[in-house]
């Protein structure tokens, strides 16, 4: 006799864990399965865990702003659960968006106004007052150090920044997923690790359950794909699901660097999160007074779409495996080195290489599927970490409504955000949508 649950959530990362949590709160008997050894150990572990509001669409801004409220109120969100590993900490550094040709910052400003995001407009002097180590010349367009023009002298200045006092990062993304797991368990959710899904069983257009690598079969009428970079593999296992998606997902390799802050500059305690489209870098403080340097994926940089299993096994060779490359180390550190001329760049690359679960338009798919009972929270493409608790609430509401008979494809579910009070048309995240050309097509979302 197979074990039976109300819902099986595939993936116990920062997206899967809150969905299990919210479903459990609704009374669903859930089982989360993950091929890793513990919660948040997949691509969640490699997340920069940035919490910021600037997105290219108004709904994106609203969604992220809603997310803040959860991070600010973390213990309450977890219903004061005790995690033996301690609680992840949200570090509210404030968030600077440099006004540049690399971002449609005017649109972001309009979205801030529409959503009611608190922000200030800073001129260059105000930016320097807060971040004295910056050189505010314009370096646009973004180039690579292999290109001799990378070293050209700049002659124009930037035009200030938008500053959100609410914004920052979570200090330990793995721990945050673990915290949510403990909160979910307190509501009756079950988590199973070292459990790899090898088959999605279905019959008569309805999902039946999963088969694991060890042959075990577990049944449930609801399945949720939160497999991160493996999401496309899971979708392909489920009858008709992959074919029924107009927007597909795949795994994109991504490097993030750690570079020591300039001497005499206490970036860890006094620094801000900063998004800088002019050099296609975003930065935030990291333990050890480091700059964590992420890339905004400029067109000139290579994009490597990889097989996640090969990648995590260290296969694929230079630039495709899970090791930092010297070229990208130089690209990201030198770009930031132009903005922060006193930044010391060590010879040895240090950082993290992980995968994005990336959709065709870099906007996630939060949706049902063409297979009854099969849902997906996929394509979270490096910019949904901050939204994860809201995604949990939204997906649980969506699943519950669909299971009670809603035809979400015909009448898209309307999700009410509990803090901002805004209503979000979940059809925005539909798998059937056309590519959203308002998207930044980057990590900016």
């Amino acid at each position: 006799m197979n074990k039976i649950y109300d819902a099986i959530v595939i993936g116990a990362g920062v997206i899967g864990a809150p969905i299990a949590y919210e479903l459990a709160k609704k009374g669903y008997k859930t089982l989360s399965v993950d091929k890793r050894a513990d919660a948040g150990e997949g691509s969640t572990a490699g997340s920069c865990a940035i919490v910021r509001a600037h997105y290219s669409t108004e709904d994106g801004v609203a969604f992220a702003y809603e997310g803040f409220k959860y991070w600010l109120d973390w213990e309450n969100y977890l219903d004061h659960v005790v995690d033996e590993k301690g609680l992840a900490k949200y570090m509210n550094t404030g968030s600077i968006l440099i006004k540049s040709q690399g971002h449609k910052w005017q649109d972001v400003k309009n979205h801030y106004d529409a959503v009611g995001v608190t922000y200030e407009e800073w001129d260059n002097d105000q930016v320097l007052k807060h971040v004295p180590v910056l050189d505010l010349h314009e370096f646009w367009p973004v180039r690579r150090p292999e290109d001799p023009t990378f070293f050209d002298e700049p002659n124009k200045m930037l035009e200030g920044a938008l500053f959100c006092p609410e914004g920052g990062y979570v200090n330990d993304p793995t721990l945050s997923a673990h915290n949510i797991m403990r909160a979910a368990e307190a509501k009756g959710a079950t988590f199973m690790f070292n459990a790899e899904v090898t088959e999605i069983r279905s019959a008569d257009g309805k999902v039946k359950g999963v088969t694991l690598a060890d042959g075990a079969q577990i049944d449930a009428p609801v399945l949720v794909n939160c497999a991160g970079p493996h999401s496309y593999i899971i979708n392909q296992m489920a009858e008709g699901v992959w074919e029924g998606c107009n927007i597909k997902t795949k795994a994109l390799r991504h490097e993030v660097m750690y570079c020591p802050a300039p001497e005499e500059y206490d970036y860890y305690n006094n620094g801000y999160h900063q998004s800088d489209g002019d050099i296609a870098c975003y930065v935030r403080p990291e333990t050890g007074n480091m700059f964590l340097i992420g890339s905004e994926d400029p067109d000139c940089d290579p994009q490597e779409w990889v097989d996640p299993d090969e990648f995590y096994a260290g296969k694929g060779g230079h630039g495709r495996d899970n090791q930092l490359t010297e070229e990208q180390w130089k690209a990201q550190c030198y770009r930031l080195g132009r903005r922060v001329p006193t930044l010391q760049v060590p010879n040895q690359p240090k950082g993290v290489v992980d995968l994005y679960d990336c959709s065709d338009d870099w906007i996630p798919v939060y949706d049902k599927s063409d297979l009854g009972g099969f849902y997906m929270a996929v394509g979270t493409s490096g910019n949904q970490y901050k939204n994860a608790p809201v995604v949990g609430a939204m997906m649980a509401d969506l699943i519950d409504a669909c299971e009670k008979g809603l035809d979400h494809d015909k009448e898209p579910f309307q999700f009410t955000m509990k803090y901002t009070g805004r209503t979000l048309n979940v059809g925005f995240f539909s798998r059937k949508r056309e590519i959203n050309y308002n998207s930044s097509f980057s990590v900016n979302g």
Binding site: Q323, E326, W329, P341, L343, Q348, P349
Partner: protein
């Protein structure tokens, strides 16, 4: 003062090393300046601040790709570089002969700095061989250098906690240990300046060096599997702290 710094182009210690064939490794990984040599370059740069008339010349005997490592040294404060390029790997005997020739052709050294070892072959002999060829004194694992009129006073770390003070006539070869300094890494403006600095490339074949009478040959490379045996430390906070101190003192001998 003419300061020559010998640097080696080595695989990144964080890279996954894969053995290819019997004596080669997969080279599609990051190569960079040997970390001990970073201390040597940093020290040369510090000495130049004291003696501004000094010139720092970095010398490397390696594959042509090592130009990147020389460029790093130039960004860290060296004035110019010399690369003796060869398509093959050579033993420490040949390396010392080549470095001696490259330095002698270039000028009269007052000081030759190296790292105390390279992290790839860990031979720890090139600096002594080089000193022998020049017939000058050498000291290794140097953690402090004080230059005087015609000699240098150096502190060398022997084993954990023990230091030896040596006086060496100049010129001499000093091999930098980790405790010598904190490497000063380049800023972007340093990197820009380094792009314009001169690197002289010498073809090893054209040096026409006769084969030494004897040589050291790498027969086989085998991947080492590291065995770790974690040990749980239990007890009260005080007792845990005491146990850690005793391990660091008696077992690891680092304090």
């Amino acid at each position: 003062m003419k300061i020559y710094v010998c640097v080696k182009h080595v695989p990144d210690s964080a890279a996954t090393i894969t053995v290819k064939g019997k004596t080669e490794i997969e080279e599609g990984i990051t190569f960079l300046m040997n970390p001990y040599d970073e201390h040597a370059v940093t020290e040369a740069s510090r000495l130049k601040k004291i003696f501004p008339e000094s010139e720092i010349i970095v010398v490397c005997f390696s594959k042509p790709e090592a130009e990147g490592t020389l460029r790093s040294a130039l960004a860290m404060g060296a004035d110019r570089g010399i690369l003796v390029a060869s398509g093959h790997r050579h033993d420490p005997i040949m390396t010392a002969i080549v470095l001696k020739k490259a330095i002698s052709q270039d000028g009269q050294p007052d000081l030759i700095l190296t790292g105390r070892e390279s992290i790839d072959s860990e031979g720890m002999q090139t600096m002594f061989r080089l000193a022998h060829l020049f017939k000058i004194p050498a000291a290794t694992n140097v953690v402090q250098i004080e230059t005087r009129d015609n000699d240098v006073l150096v502190s060398c770390e022997k084993e954990a906690g023990a230091r030896e003070m040596l006086k060496l006539g100049m010129p001499c070869v000093l091999a930098a240990g980790k405790g010598l300094n904190n490497p000063r890494y380049p800023t972007f403006p340093d990197i820009v300046k380094a792009r314009k600095k001169e690197i002289k490339i010498i073809d090893f074949e054209k040096l026409d060096i006769p084969k030494p009478e004897s040589r050291l040959e790498l027969v086989c490379l085998e991947p080492a599997l590291e065995k770790r045996t974690p040990k749980e430390i239990t007890g009260t906070t005080t007792s845990i702290a005491e146990q850690i101190v005793s391990i660091l003192k008696d077992e690891a001998r680092v304090i």
